[in-house]
């Protein structure tokens, strides 16, 4: 990937900031998401909660279904490929997806991640800590999101991952220059990347929250913890009133410090997704890929 293309791909993520990216499984859901104010949609056959319920191997979605969603909305459309599955990624590039999510929600296809510098299409990847985020960026990811624990409606892991990334950035800013080599070695990334974070005090790409966000307050919590935007997976279309909940989450992300507004947005939203606690689940998706 040329430098220019990488920059344009990072730029698209900048345009998504302050927004909500919603998982959708049909063109109808995609239209509901767009009308509610989503800044992008993630097209997939099954939302994470159902991937959990069904079990088995989860793969890239049917390209036909993704194309139907692309035709239904004017906002960017993202889709997931398996970790390490560079052919699934190239298929998604061939149908001109706007962003590929190399995602732990699907069953990993390799122990190593895709060399994303070989693609023109942008990639977003999950991370639990700064080292993981920088390894993905070094591989060519142009956007990062927390892994969280997808499909649970339990936000605790997303909170941990966001806090961890922020705290590790703060720690890296305050190390002495002669310690940067060691930091780079520990995180298994080039020194130049570590230096950049040390100087700027942030990731060189946009960082969203993902995994377990189910309510307007969850979304605002992630924004207050430093997320630049929010992915909502199962939380919307597994709930009682998707339209209303989607619009409420969009507004909560914009006005994430306005508690009075979030209170009114949280009224009468109907059933939230049922949710599973992190200690009740057998499969920890966040452990996939490092």
């Amino acid at each position: 990937m040329q430098n220019e293309r990488l920059q344009l791909n990072r730029n698209l993520a900048q345009m998504l900031k302050g927004g909500v990216i919603m998982d959708v499984t049909t063109p109808e859901q995609a239209r509901i998401a767009e009308e509610a104010g989503a800044c992008a949609v993630m097209a997939l056959e099954r939302i994470p909660a159902d991937i959990r319920a069904v079990g088995g191997v989860a793969r890239m979605s049917d390209p036909k279904m993704i194309k139907e969603i692309q035709a239904a909305v004017s906002i960017p459309v993202m889709a997931k490929c398996r970790i390490g599955h560079f052919v699934e990624a190239s298929v998604l590039q061939a149908i001109e997806i706007d962003y590929v999510d190399e995602s732990e929600v699907l069953t990993p296809a390799d122990d190593r991640h895709i060399d994303k510098t070989a693609f023109d299409v942008p990639f977003v990847c999950g991370a639990r800590n700064l080292g993981e985020a920088l390894r993905r960026i070094n591989e060519g990811a142009s956007m990062i999101r927390t892994k969280g624990e997808p499909g649970t409606g339990d936000v605790v892991q997303a909170v941990r991952h966001m806090r961890c990334i922020q705290e590790e950035i703060a720690a890296l800013v305050s190390v002495r220059p002669e310690q940067l080599d060691e930091a780079a070695e520990n995180m298994r990334v080039p020194r130049s990347l570590v230096e950049w974070v040390h100087e700027h005090g942030r990731l060189p790409v946009v960082n969203f929250a993902a995994g377990g966000v189910a309510t307007p307050a969850d979304a605002a919590l992630m924004m207050q913890l430093g997320a630049e935007g929010v992915f909502v997976g199962s939380g919307i279309f597994k709930s009682g009133n998707p339209q209303k909940r989607a619009a409420a989450i969009v507004q909560a992300v914009t006005n994430y410090r306005d508690a009075a507004l979030i209170a009114s947005l949280s009224e009468d939203l109907g059933e939230a997704m049922v949710g599973i606690n992190e200690n009740e689940i057998a499969l920890l998706m966040e452990k996939r890929g490092d």
Partner: protein
């Protein structure tokens, strides 16, 4: 100079950083209370559908539109250009619709159609990043074309309204922001 930057969704921080570096005082606009005492307004890039929806939900739509119609200098980039367009060729939605231009959304296709180039803006050669960008298909009377790339209009001005299809806020050129601040200054004088 006090410039409001619409902060509902999108790349508003980038505009604030650039305007601040040029000596302007910036305010994030999220609610009606943020509109007091503004000398100018920036509508940043992002998704126009999301921003349009939030403009209405926050009650900002009417006061912003009135302000612009009353002469408040405004600068829209990409999605901001779409918000200001009187007509959108491939979308039924209308937003602020104060500027006599017809726009085509996502006119260069999806992200793989995004591109970077150098071209003239009001006589100055500057870097331009087009991200899932629109362009202007038609301009009405009294609209001055400020930039053309590959035969397509990508920057224009009508009285107090300035629009670019590209994103000067994410490049290292301050030319467009300086141009806008000059508009604000002239309006104040």
């Amino acid at each position: 100079m006090r410039i409001g930057v619409l902060a509902l969704q999108g790349a508003f921080i980038e505009h604030i950083q650039m305007l601040t570096s040029l000596g302007a005082e910036c305010v994030e606009v999220r609610s009606i209370a943020d509109l007091n005492g503004l000398d100018g307004l920036v509508l940043p890039g992002g998704e126009s559908t999301a921003q349009g929806k939030l403009l209405r939900a926050t009650g900002l739509w009417a006061p912003l539109r009135e302000g612009i119609l009353a002469g408040l200098p405004v600068f829209g980039t990409c999605a901001g250009l779409i918000l200001l367009s009187a007509t959108i060729a491939n979308d039924d939605r209308r937003h602020l619709a104060t500027m006599d231009i017809e726009t085509e959304r996502n006119a260069y296709g999806r992200q793989l159609g995004s591109f970077f180039t150098y071209a003239d803006f009001a006589g100055e050669r500057i870097p331009m990043s087009f991200i899932r960008a629109p362009y202007i298909r038609r301009v009405g009377q009294g609209v001055e074309v400020l930039s053309v790339v590959d035969g397509r209009i990508v920057a224009a001005r009508q009285c107090n309204m300035l629009v670019t299809a590209f994103h000067p806020e994410i490049t290292d050129s301050t030319a467009v922001h300086r141009y806008f601040l000059d508009m604000v200054k002239a309006n104040k004088a």
